[in-house]
């Protein structure tokens, strides 16, 4: 069984937001909500400024607070290591939204259930990559199987220093952030 993870190379993100649009289109996400977002953080004193582009989505944590808190088992771990929502079991108590340190869940207002990024599980079953990865023009989003030592994500994480969001909380995320791979000469 694979163990899926995503690597985000921040140096390759050009802020085109194609991932945001592709995600909404692929997953029929309601107009007012999003499964992924791109942060553009400008810091420093003019003219010495730095810009960080950061794509964020569900981290599909190995120790996910949303799964722990869910009273009905709607939020659950799949065998492929992803965290999914069984919408038929969701009562809309919103505890998982409060429990998520990454603020990536939302309520589908039309149907009342909680929803979030699924790593495009329906595409994975067809052997395709998630829509955001497939559409990323800068090659910033890289997706693969951590249990396969030859997969691109495994190679990158072996060879490149990487970090995860809010590591100290102990959620053990499966979305990793790197800066520049392969390294420029």
């Amino acid at each position: 069984m694979p163990r899926y993870a995503m690597v985000i190379d921040q140096s390759r993100c050009i802020g085109c937001m194609a991932c945001v649009v592709a995600c909404k289109r692929e997953n029929d996400v309601p107009p007012e909500v999003y499964r992924t977002r791109v942060l553009e953080i400008v810091q420093g004193n003019f003219p010495d400024l730095t810009t960080e582009m950061r794509s964020e989505l569900c981290n599909h944590c190995d120790h996910a607070p949303c799964v722990t808190i869910c009273p009905t088992g709607a939020s659950h771990y799949e065998e492929d290591g992803t965290v999914q929502v069984d919408i038929d079991k969701c009562v809309g108590c919103k505890a998982c939204i409060a429990a998520c340190p990454y603020n990536v869940r939302y309520i589908n207002e039309e149907h009342g259930y909680v929803d979030k990024c699924s790593f495009c599980q329906h595409r994975l079953k067809e052997g395709k990559k998630p829509a955001c990865v497939a559409t990323c023009v800068g090659g910033s989003r890289i997706f693969g199987d951590l249990d396969d030592p030859k997969s691109e994500v495994s190679v990158i994480l072996r060879k490149t220093s990487h970090r995860v969001l809010k590591k100290s909380i102990g959620t053990r995320p499966n979305v990793y952030y790197i800066n520049q791979y392969p390294k420029k000469a």
């Binding site: 007012e32 791109v38 808190i69 869910c70 009273p71 939204i97 409060a98 603020n103 809010k166």
Partner: protein, 329 residues
């Protein structure tokens, strides 16, 4: 720093707001009915210890109020569900690590205990008025077990009150709630508000004075726990320090939280002072004076106000807190 985000959800940006006044009311009424269960049961058990026979020293209405108030609270919680017709899914599984799941199942355990206790405590003059034979027969059948049911209610009342705090304290993502002392605060507050209602409803002077004295200790405990909670957050990491800032910042954005801490800071100590005034000299007088009654009821109402303010302030302020929302890695 300049931050622009493409793809934010209004429910979490710029701060999370998923639970509102409905959840705050549930937490308040849940704590209150837990307090009523425990305190009314203590009232019965005191009479048993004193006279050897179990009888109400003040009021049979209190055990009835507990399930009614809990039901009202649960109604508000149900109103907060996004899929109201799917509520039965809580009972399709048991998740041992989910406080939400515990809550759903604990309610199923608590209701029979509190309802049977309420029926057992009905006095004969009320029972003769009951037309439904099933209820009447159950009340008669339960009456001999009043002592045992009262003891169970002491335990379950504590469980119910403390549970309302456990629910919030288990959320690691919200530093203000993520403190083991929060359940204790909700327990102290629940017991204190339960005692306040006992004082208001009780007719008997001795019971009123007993619960007034008890409430003094509960409020002192509550104030100490509030102080310790803030101190604990202040000495913890940056996220926890930031989490309590709304309570100490009187700017426009956070004024309601600042006001809540001012209200709690005035209301609870004032309630204690009034209670000391009530207790003083009352042992020698036959009946409580009219002025004494006004003092008692005012201080009890202040305690109820303080309990409600604590729930509302913590439910809303907790959602402002987080681990470096949107800017930190």
């Amino acid at each position: 720093m300049e931050l622009s985000i493409t793809g934010t959800n209004a429910i979490t940006y710029p701060v999370m707001h998923v639970w509102d006044w409905r959840v705050a009311i549930y937490l308040f009424l849940g704590g209150l009915s837990g307090g009523l269960m425990t305190m009314s049961a203590i009232n019965y058990l005191r009479s048993e210890r004193k006279s050897g026979t179990i009888q109400s020293l003040c009021c049979w209405q209190i055990p009835l109020m507990a399930p009614i108030l809990l039901s009202i609270g649960l109604f508000f919680l149900w109103l907060d569900l996004e899929r109201k017709l799917h509520g039965h899914l809580f009972y399709m599984t048991f998740k041992p690590l989910s406080p939400m799941s515990w809550g759903a199942w604990i309610i199923l355990l608590i209701y029979p205990v509190m309802i049977l206790y309420a029926l057992a405590s009905l006095p004969d003059e009320i029972k003769v008025k009951i037309k439904n034979t099933f209820i009447k027969n159950t009340a008669d059948a339960m009456a001999p077990y009043l002592s045992k049911l009262a003891k169970l209610n002491v335990v379950f009342g504590v469980l119910l009150s403390i549970y309302t705090g456990i629910l919030l304290s288990s959320l690691v993502a919200r530093p203000l709630w993520n403190s083991a002392i929060l359940p204790l605060l909700f327990l102290a507050s629940g017991m204190s508000t339960g005692t306040a209602v006992m004082i208001i409803v009780a007719k008997n002077k001795e019971a009123k004075l007993f619960f007034t004295k008890l409430d003094i200790w509960l409020i002192i405990g509550e104030i100490l726990i509030i102080a310790l909670m803030f101190y604990g957050h202040y000495t913890s990491n940056a996220a926890h320090q930031e989490a309590i800032m709304p309570f100490f910042n009187s700017s426009h954005d956070t004024f309601p939280y600042f006001l809540s801490i001012v209200v709690i800071g005035i209301v609870l100590p004032l309630a204690i002072i009034l209670k000391f005034l009530e207790v003083r000299g009352q042992d020698t007088e036959k009946e409580i004076s009219r002025f004494g009654l006004i003092l008692m009821n005012t201080s009890a109402l202040l305690v109820l106000l303080g309990g409600a303010v604590i729930r509302f302030a913590l439910v809303y302020a907790g959602q402002l807190s987080g681990y470096g929302n949107y800017t930190m890695m």
